[in-house]
């Protein structure tokens, strides 16, 4: 599997497992000694919950439980604005006064575009950061992004900025972010389940991002179950098999198992249709299996092994 970009943006409908997939991808990219940054921007502390950590500060912290160099960051728009002010205007203390006054809340509230510019700006900064020797600090940055319903607006920072700022540093900042997001350095991956609404949103998001000239990478089907059955099974056959396995063969057990099998078959057929719909989108597609014991670090590492670059 190849992951050519440097900035990987992971989105999908709410509830499809974006955070899980983003974390698995970050682990996969970090394998073999690469330093990788995994970022969240929605203030949900989803990464802390996923890795069972205390809430993350606004700082890049290495994940301690593994040998690979994976760092985690929760970007907060207020902190990002303060950092930005400090960086460009040397406003360390004044910045804190502004916060007391509610100015920061004000600035990020009045202009939602500004908020997104700050968040994406921080992601860009991390993606392009270099050390003294001019080498990139991060081999890759993985962004656990807002859901598909908001992803176009979130990534389309120039349009938002242009509505508000016709000139000035905000405008040039957003142009820098927009250039990165539209370059081959970036790849937006769409996570979906084999269910109708997430597949529909994947289709819609692909069209929206394509129209915005933002490069879409892979479609990642999460929590896929293997097709177990090829045809319907008769009660007689089931009864015979159960007897052979030494299990009860009463009517309730037989009809119960048969109805479960038929429901599975119906689900399987629907999933096949949805796979076909996804195939029509002509994007490279990866399937990740359902983690039947829930999402934990070994589970994430199992998914990461399936995504590992080859």
């Amino acid at each position: 599997m190849s992951w050519p970009a440097r900035l990987h943006v992971v989105t999908g409908k709410g509830g499809v497992g974006k955070t899980t997939v983003a974390a698995a991808l970050a682990l996969a990219l970090a394998a073999g000694g690469n330093r990788v940054l995994l970022v969240e921007v929605e203030g949900r502390q989803g990464l802390a919950q996923l890795f069972d950590l205390e809430p993350l500060p606004y700082a890049e912290r290495r994940l301690g439980d593994i040998d690979d160099d994976l760092r985690l960051l929760a970007v907060d728009p207020e902190e990002a604005l303060l950092e930005y002010l400090d960086l460009f205007y040397k406003m360390g203390r004044a910045g804190r006064v502004l916060r007391k006054l509610g100015a920061i809340d004000f600035a990020t509230t009045i202009a939602p575009g500004l908020r997104d510019i700050l968040l994406t700006g921080k992601v860009k900064e991390a993606t392009t950061r270099t050390d003294e020797a001019g080498r990139r600090l991060y081999h890759a940055v993985v962004l656990d992004a807002p859901p598909t319903g908001r992803i176009g607006r979130f990534l389309n920072v120039t349009a938002e900025a242009a509505r508000l700022a016709k000139l000035g540093p905000i405008k040039s900042q957003s142009e820098g972010v927009a250039a990165l997001l539209r370059s081959p350095m970036t790849s937006v991956h769409l996570v979906t389940l084999l269910e109708e609404m997430p597949v529909q949103e994947t289709t819609d998001a692909l069209a929206e991002l394509t129209a915005l000239h933002i490069p879409v990478g892979k479609i990642i089907v999460n929590a896929a179950r293997p097709p177990l059955l090829s045809s319907r099974v008769t009660q007689a056959e089931l009864k015979r098999g159960l007897a052979e396995a030494g299990l009860p063969t009463d009517r309730r057990t037989v009809t119960g198992l048969q109805s479960e099998a038929h429901a599975h078959l119906a689900r399987q057929e629907l999933e096949q249709q949805l796979r076909a719909e996804l195939a029509h989108l002509k994007r490279p597609t990866v399937e990740l299996p359902l983690l039947s014991d829930g999402v934990d670090l070994p589970g994430l590492q199992h998914l990461a092994a399936l995504l590992r670059p080859r």
Binding site: L98, F106, I110, L238
Partner: protein, 363 residues
């Protein structure tokens, strides 16, 4: 665990508002529509469902092809449905609170345009505003509200207060200059830092933007009180026993965690929580055969035969049942008194009236 008697809520004439909340992807809109349909059909109540951003096929089946802020009767059902038009609702609020000339200025301001269409929180605020309007019109026995697909379920409760605070806030008054007229001392206190702020803003954002911003702020000035009062009024309606909050979740860790946060917030805000609807719950027809025994039996049969495959299907299902039970227990352990209704997983997605009826029956 207590069973959630959904019909007792839907049929209670004293309950006039049902608010469905939960995180994204748990079937919130579908649940709101199913509850509303059941109230209308089984309890004969004149019901409207206010949806925010329904999936396309569900919207079509509810007859919501236009986003026009008008309740319309659903085809083949005694139910009315409407979809929130956030920008139009905001425009209407502005028009009610200000002279037409002033309104024109506001509408033309780029900050108003940005805020009325994309502000994080405008959707929540406007959903509350629309709810307030529908309630005030007193045309409906029951209003069922689907809350916006927020970053977090809590945004629905927090955003209106945040918007109110913002519109009513110190910064706006500083920028609009009303502080000078209203409270000289406060202004003096902060003048120095404010000078730094406005210089920074000018440096970062540019002078044109600042002009637009103060234009917007002074135009909104006349509406401050109105915004806050309305938000507070609607908030009080939500605390009233005429309202019933219904949490919606799926048996997944994130969704259940969000539901638990929300339940504690409702408790803090003394808001009436009626119960939790747990969607997409898997059940087995043969629960006494556990996953391990099923797997072992399949192994004895040598995996390839039909029965072995069926036993593998059962094994996966039983694992899921166990996992879902554990996840749901995180909520029920913390809130043992909140009643829970479980809706079985449907084999396919629900997007027609018959499907909504089936969910209603499952309550």
């Amino acid at each position: 665990m207590v069973g959630f008697e959904v019909d007792a809520v839907l049929g209670d004439p004293a309950i006039r508002i049902v608010v469905c909340c939960g995180s994204g992807g748990v079937g919130k809109t579908t649940t709101a529509a199913a509850l509303a349909l059941r109230a209308a059909e089984q309890h004969g109540r004149r019901t409207v469902v206010l949806t925010i951003d329904p999936a396309r096929r569900l919207a079509q089946s509810l007859g919501l092809t236009e986003l026009d802020n008008t309740p319309r009767q659903v085809k083949d059902a005694p139910l009315y449905a409407m979809q929130l038009d956030m920008k139009r609702t905001f425009d209407e609020v502005v028009l009610t609170h200000t002279a037409p000339e002033r309104a024109k200025e506001i509408f033309a301001n780029p900050f108003y345009q940005a805020m009325s269409s994309t502000f994080a929180g405008t959707q929540e605020y406007m959903a509350m505003e629309k709810l307030g309007q529908l309630r005030a019109a007193d045309e409906w026995d029951l209003i069922v509200v689907d809350t916006p697909p927020s970053r977090s379920a809590l945004d629905f409760l927090d955003a209106p207060a945040r918007l109110g605070r913002f519109l009513d806030g110190k910064m706006l008054r500083l920028l609009s200059g009303t502080a000078r007229a209203g409270g000289r001392s406060m202004f003096n206190l902060v003048t120095a830092s404010f000078g730094a702020f406005s210089k920074a803003v000018q440096k970062i954002l540019g002078a044109q933007l600042l002009t637009d911003l103060s234009g917007f702020v002074s135009a909104l000035d006349s509406m401050f009180g109105g915004f806050r009062e309305r938000a507070e009024h609607t908030y009080r309606v939500l605390q009233d026993p005429q309202t019933a909050f219904v949490l919606v979740a799926a048996p997944e860790p994130d969704a259940v965690r969000e539901a638990a946060y929300f339940a504690s917030r409702l408790e803090e805000g003394r808001m009436p929580l009626a119960g939790l609807v747990l969607n997409r719950v898997h059940t087995s027809a043969v629960p006494e055969l556990d996953a391990e025994s099923s797997a072992a039996a399949a192994a004895r049969l040598g995996e390839e035969g039909d029965t072995a495959r069926v036993l593998r299907v059962h094994e996966l299902l039983m694992r899921q049942v166990v996992r879902e039970t554990e996840v749901a227990a995180h909520f029920t352990d913390r809130f043992p008194l909140v009643p829970v209704a479980r809706v079985p997983a449907q084999p396919t997605d629900v997007h027609d009236i018959a499907g909504l009826r089936a969910i209603g029956d499952a309550f």
